[in-house]
Symmetry: C2
Subunit: 351 residues, 2 copies
Amino acid sequence: MKLNIALLAGDGIGPEVIDQAVKVSDAIAKKFNHEITWKPALTGAAAIDAVGEPYPDETHDICVASDAVLFGAIGHPKYDNNPSATVRPEQGLLKMRKKLGLFANVRPTFTFPSLLDKSPLKRERIEGTDLVFLRELTGGIYFGEKGRRDEGETAFDNCVYTRAEVQRLAVKGFELAMTRSKKLCCVDKANVLETSRLWRETVQAMEKDYPEVEVTYEFVDAVAMRLVQWPNSYDVLITENLFGDILTDEASVISGSMGLMPSASVGTENALFEPIHGSYPQATGLNIANPMATVLSAAMMFENFGLQEEGKAIRAAVNKALDAGFVTEDLADGGKAYGTKEVGDWLAKNI
Amino acid sequence: MKLNIALLAGDGIGPEVIDQAVKVSDAIAKKFNHEITWKPALTGAAAIDAVGEPYPDETHDICVASDAVLFGAIGHPKYDNNPSATVRPEQGLLKMRKKLGLFANVRPTFTFPSLLDKSPLKRERIEGTDLVFLRELTGGIYFGEKGRRDEGETAFDNCVYTRAEVQRLAVKGFELAMTRSKKLCCVDKANVLETSRLWRETVQAMEKDYPEVEVTYEFVDAVAMRLVQWPNSYDVLITENLFGDILTDEASVISGSMGLMPSASVGTENALFEPIHGSYPQATGLNIANPMATVLSAAMMFENFGLQEEGKAIRAAVNKALDAGFVTEDLADGGKAYGTKEVGDWLAKNI
Ligand SMILES: CC(C)[C@H](C(=O)O)[C@@H](O)C(=O)O
Ligand SMILES: CC(C)[C@H](C(=O)O)[C@@H](O)C(=O)O
């Protein structure tokens, strides 16, 4: 296969972890006879510094022209304490999601047997956890009309959803559930919000098209609790943008392997793959960041092209590194810690 | 003191746990020479069944005429699977909060040494946790304009906050922080929402009036993570209605003592005290529900009247019962379990 991949390294540790994913992907290409052309492009604070815009048009054009986007991380401390600044890295992220039509954010949370003890939860609570959130990513309160009135004394944010937006996300949820244990949980706040009632009635109406899928409906506050109590009781969950933001992050720390969690954001035309961790500015340039989440994001990318064996080969290499203790300091647990680059080299060699 | 207390037992286990809180409060009244007049009133599914309305005007009048409201729980399974039903117990709750002006929901999460092992979190993560959420309760997306357009195909919910609404909640947060460790965390999503930017700028402007309080600002998704990772790193947190709904529930399961967590909802004129657990319909009438959260809510009620010793006496009785293992089955851990009523009697006797 010939693959054109846009490479958006971003800020902080982004470039370092992206480098390792490139290495590992190139090893895959070699082994499985693919040809990958990498197209680097600017984003985040790096793009603001260079051209005054966190998601420049040129970057967008490169993304659109590519078969997929591999993304590092964005965010820089100099923007952290001023959320009202007019140009911010996060705006680039939102603009990118919207312009690329990445309406479904796929966020798995799973455990690695060797890392179970890293979880803040007791082993018996976390064992066997393997869930996936599908978070709606281009609608809801993130993108509704927002502003001020009464001379700035009143602020508003409008949350809007159409039935079509709910349907296209829910279709992905039902389809994913069919490839797994056929359990789907729709997370909403239908006892309070009209948008949630639309979500619920839309999903309810789709149940008949997927008679094998067992659908449950839970309120977002109840899910926030059960994720801590019995994370392994969930399988596929679908939810709207803001609930998804909160719950996927909550879920990510439960596994104890946050530094290993990949994600995908997909639409009809485009797809983007990125680690769930942030730009971790304190670690920039120190060669200590864990590249595995980005490497596993590359695995999701191959799988999204239908290249299952390629994805499996990457996952196997990561498991092997974990078993062998060939890991960065966040996982070293007093043992020997390897550098970002060394872990990347090891993984590439073990493809 | 002469106290008129509206007694809203509600649904499910509500009446049973409320009975115990009344018993214990009466014991306090006797010991400390107060005179409590209880004014029972209908609410929830019980009120819908009786008069077709979950928060009848008559109940509201009783609440307004009282010095405080002691509340059990509401909700009944027959309303659970139909969030679009026009009359629902939850609507009563929202109407009550709004009409009584209960703008600040006070939700402590603390641990009991003897119950640490009940937490889904590892002991070293949870030990020492003692935090309080102040959740804004009468504004935001719960009460903004909501509805449908495009023949029902589009749904919207509007989130609105005024600076004055943020201020009155934040004042309570700063004041509470001053009585504790002087740490205040403002939880928002100021990188995305205009209402959150109003929250943040309003709280920032208030910092100078409380120079001793160290204020931090965190995004809601980050807090959802840190609550699971390091709950004991928090002290007082303030946040808007919907974030508060999700995060306070998440926090409540962290302690492992959810069945013991009380809460208060206060405004300028009125105050209401209730356990955070729900109506637990499956347990109704079985004399197995844990009354301690409701009893501790009564403690918060006395403290709110400035009657600190009375509150302390209740807390001491609860601690004593826990130490003595005089507990309901949720806490019995294989040991002997006592009934709801028996635990209530024991607590009243030990005042
Ligand atoms: C940075 C922020 C705008 C973003 C979001 O809220 O979507 C982030 O938290 C995420 O989840 O990707
Ligand atoms: C029942 C529901 C409307 C309510 C809320 O969301 O406020 C409940 O979850 C709570 O937190 O008291």
